[in-house]
Amino acid sequence: MLWVAWKMLIGNRVKYLGIVFGVVFAALLIAQQSSIFCGLMALTISQIRDVEGPEIWVMDRNVQFVDDVKPLADTELFRVKGVPGVEWAVSFYKGIARARLQEGTYEQMVLLGLDDATLVGAPGGVFMGSIADLRRPDAVIMDDAGYKRIWPNEPFRLGRVFEMNDRRAVLVGITKASRTFQSFPIVYTRYSQAIQYAPPERKVLSFVLADAAPGVPPEEVCRRIAAQTGLQALTRKQFIWKTIRHYLAKTGIPVNFGITVFLGFLVGTAIAGQTFYLFTVENIRQFGALKAMGTSNWTILTMVLSQALQVGVVGYGIGVGLAALFGRVVTGGLSRLSFFMPWEVLAITAVAVFVIVLLASLLSIRKVLVVDPAIVFRG
C-alpha cells in the first residue's frame, strides 16, 4: 500500500510540486542561512585555525576572543616555558597595522609576528616564495585575498614594497589563508620585525604558543599554566569555541540568522502543510473507499506518513542541493560572502525538514483517520 500511497501522491503533479516546493524553500533557506552563519563564525576563528602546530594558546586572563588582544610582558614566555609538561613555547604577535602603500594610500592589515627561530605559526599555503624567506630583512608574506584587495586586477608579484610605522616591508611570499572577520589583508613576518612595525608600547607580546609534552594531555598542561602563571591557557579547540561563543553572545548575528531560519521553517511548513492538506481533502473519498475496502487505520497512517516522508526526502535533496550550489557560486569568486556547510548544517536541516513534513501531515493524518468509510456510500 505504500506504493499506492506514492502513486496517489505523484498522480496530482501540481499538488505534488506545490508540497515539494514548500519543503525545498524551507530546506534551502535553513541550509543556506545556516551555512552563511557558519561561514561567518569560521571567519572569526580563522586565525586560530590557520596557526597549525601549537595546541596551546596562552594569553591574558581577560581575553575574550582571538581579536581581543591584551599585551603580555615578554617575561611571560619564560614563565610558561618553566611549567612542567610544556614541551616548547614561543612568542606570537597579533595586531592591526596601518600600511602605507607606494601609491600613497593606506591600508589596515592584520599583522602576525612569528617566533624568529622556529617560525611556528607560519602559513601552510605559501604558493609564491617560501617561508624561509621570512628570515630576510624586512620580509613579509601576504595572503592572496589581501593582495587582490590591495592591488586588484594585478598579477601576483613578489618584491613589492610598502611601509608600516615608517618601516620598510618587502613582499617575499604570497600564501593561501583563511579570511578574517574584518576581511583585512594578513601579513606574516618575524616577531622581532612585527614589534617594530607595531606602534611602540611597553608590552607587545600577544600570545604565547605552546605544545604539551608527549603523554601529557594539553588540557592538563593548560591547567598547570593557569595555576602557575595566573594567565589564561586554552587548547586550540577551547579557544576556538570561546571566540565563537563571544560572537554569539555579544553580537546580533545569531539572532539575525536565527530569525531568518525560523521564518524559513514557518513559511515552508505553511506552504507544505496547506498543500498537503488540500491534497488529502481532494483524495478523502479515495481514502474513505480504501477504509471501506478494509484498509486499517494503521495502514492509512503509514500511507500518509510515507507520502510526507517522500516529499521530505525529495524536498530536502533539492533544497540542500540548491544551497550547496549557491555556496559553490559565491565562494567561487562571485562575491566575498562567506559560506561553510559542515555536516552539522545538513543534519540540522534534515531534522527541520522532518519536523516540517510531520507537522504538515498532522492535519491530513487527523482528517483521514476520522473519515467515515460510510462517506463513500453517499453520492
Binding site: V4, K7, M8, Q286, A289, L290, K291, M293, F377, G379
Partner: protein
C-alpha cells in the same frame, strides 16, 4: 417492531443466509434532533441471490447497506453477516472481516485516479498484502473476463463511465468476496451502460457462494433482481420476487 411479518413459507436454512438482519434500528442525533433512519428492519439475503434494495432518497437504503457492510454501527438490533455477528465485532476485527469478505461497487466508482485500470482492480489484493506483481496479474485476469483486457494500462480519466464501472466491479470481486454490495451502480451511467453493468454483475458477480445486494432507485435495472425489497421511511414495506428468481425462492423479508 417488525414492519413486514414473515410469510408462513419455507424459511431458508441459516447456512444459506449470507445476511441476517433482525430489528435493526439506526438513529442519528439526540434529544429534539433525534432522527430515526432505520426502524426495526428485518432482512435475509441468501447466498447466490441478487437482492435489490429500492426506495426513494432518504428512505434508509444507504444506512442499511452501510450497516450490512460493517461501516456503520446500528443503534439496536442484530446483524449477522456471513455467520459473523457484526454488532459484537469490534475495531480491527471488523476491518479485517470487510477486507476478506466484502466487495464494494460505489456509485461514483471511487477509483484512484493515479492508478491504471489493472492497478485499481488490484487494490483489494494489495490491501490484503499480496505482492504487487501477483495482485496485478490476478486483476488483469478479472478485467479480461469483464471485457477490458485491452484497457489494463489506461488511467480512469481515459476510460468511459461504463468502463470505469467495470473496473470498479473487477475491484469488487478480485479477492473473491462472499458478499458484494453495490451502491447505485448504474445511476451515473446511461441506459445502455447501466444495462451492461447489471448484466456483468448478475452474470459474473452473482455466484452460488456469494450474495449480492444492489441499492438502486433505477427502475430500468429491476429485471436483474432475484428479489426486490422496497424501503420507505426506514422500514422495509414489501419484498417481491424479482424477474430473475426461480419460483421456489421464498424467504423472510
Amino acid at each position: 417492531m417488525r414492519d413486514v411479518p414473515p410469510p408462513a413459507a419455507v424459511t431458508t436454512a441459516a447456512t444459506d443466509v449470507a445476511v441476517r438482519a433482525r430489528g435493526v434500528t439506526k438513529s442519528f442525533g439526540a434529544g429534539s434532533s433525534l432522527t430515526l433512519a432505520l426502524r426495526g428492519v428485518d432482512l435475509d439475503v441468501p447466498y447466490g441471490e441478487l437482492l435489490m434494495l429500492v426506495g426513494p432518497s432518504g428512505c434508509g437504503k444507504t444506512t442499511l447497506v452501510s450497516i450490512v457492510a460493517g461501516t456503520l454501527e446500528p443503534s439496536a438490533g442484530e446483524m449477522v453477516v456471513l455467520g459473523q455477528d457484526l454488532v459484537a465485532m469490534r475495531g480491527g476485527r471488523k476491518v479485517r472481516f470487510r477486507r476478506q469478505n466484502v466487495g464494494f461497487v460505489f456509485q461514483s466508482y471511487n477509483l484512484l485516479p493515479a492508478l491504471t485500470a489493472v492497478e485499481n482492480a488490484a487494490v483489494p489484493l494489495l490491501i490484503a498484502g499480496w505482492r504487487r506483481g501477483q495482485a496485478v496479474e490476478a486483476a488483469a485476469d478479472v478485467l479480461d473476463r469483464l471485457g477490458l483486457g485491452d484497457r489494463l494500462t489506461r488511467l480512469p480519466g481515459e476510460l468511459s463511465g461504463g468502463q470505469q464501472q467495470r473496473v470498479a466491479i473487477a475491484r469488487a470481486i478480485v479477492h473473491d468476496p462472499r458478499l458484494l454490495i453495490c451502491d447505485e451502480p448504474t445511476s451515473a451511467l446511461d441506459a445502455e451502460n447501466g444495462r451492461i453493468t447489471m448484466e456483468l454483475i448478475s452474470r459474473i458477480a452473482v455466484q452460488p457462494d456469494r450474495a449480492v445486494i444492489v441499492v438502486t432507485h433505477d427502475a430500468r435495472v429491476y429485471s436483474f433482481a432475484d428479489r426486490i425489497a422496497a424501503m420507505e421511511d426506514g422500514r422495509i414495506v414489501s419484498v417481491e420476487r424479482g424477474p430473475r428468481s426461480a419460483p421456489q425462492q421464498h424467504g423472510t423479508a
